[in-house]
Amino acid sequence: MRKVRYIRLGTALSVAGAAILTVSLLLLGSYPGISTGIAVLVLGLVILLLGTTAPGVSAELADLLVRVGYENLGRLLEEIGLNSRAVYLPSTFFPGEARAFIPLDAERHEVAVSGKLDDRLVTFWGAGDDDVGLAVSTPGTAALSLLQYPPGGTMDEISVTLTQLAVATLRVAKGVEVHERAGRIEVLVRRESVPSRWLSSRVEWCLGSLAASVAAAVVAEAKQRPVYVENEEVKGSQRVVVLALQPE
């Protein structure tokens, strides 16, 4: 596991650095030895601290939990018969964190919300009989908790946030580009690396792919407006995700 590997390497380098420094300083009087000892000691301490921040969950367990969660959500959606695209809502719409809202009505992509919605699985957003849907947590909405600051509203800030999340933290792509075109936001995800068959077709239809989910959640939070995945397609080594924002 990565955590154990870093901690072992950091400990070994720290001990080796301290030993080289002590021997060079007290016994040998060697300045190259002192220099190397300090360098190895600093490197070891940095790696040791980095090791303590690595996730403690094994890749196999994480994979298992993801599969179980998605399979259950897919079975639930199939049982209910929901066939709608999820509308990603910012965290200000719920008392807790951001959620994706899957409306009962498949044609509805606009959610007129006044005040906060109830943070329940089955949520009513209006007074009508059809103004109901499922408020679910998605990889994208959960990934927002990994950000130190909320994303800014400009295209550059959205691009930086998406790159930080998708490339550095989640490591699901090698690069992300964001463009605004004709009132839509187009996200190009280059060289995706997501294991196949993670999402059931029903879950992927409702929530979008993993990259689309992250992009939609970030854009919704950045713009403080509901967002849905209008279209996504794979072109060669890149995925093109088109996001539509609900009018203000």
Binding site: S35, T36, A39, V40, L43, T53, Q148
Partner: protein, 84 residues
Amino acid sequence: MTVTDRYVLVLASVLLGTSVIFAWFGESRINVFLSVYIIETLAVNQLFVWLSERARSALYSVERVLVVCFVVMVVSEIARILSG
């Protein structure tokens, strides 16, 4: 290779490469060793803005310790110069 692996490799290359350069030029001032290593570590930390949030918060604590060490060295050097 993850971004953390790349960070470790870059930091190791920079620090150990500098150590070789010091040995090559026969540098013998310990405060110079420490100052250069601290500045290099801070610079590499600033370059890797894409590290995960948890990794960055760990590096912030490293940076704080290194900055304190650097300030102590600078102050002691100033005191040494002023005292003649």
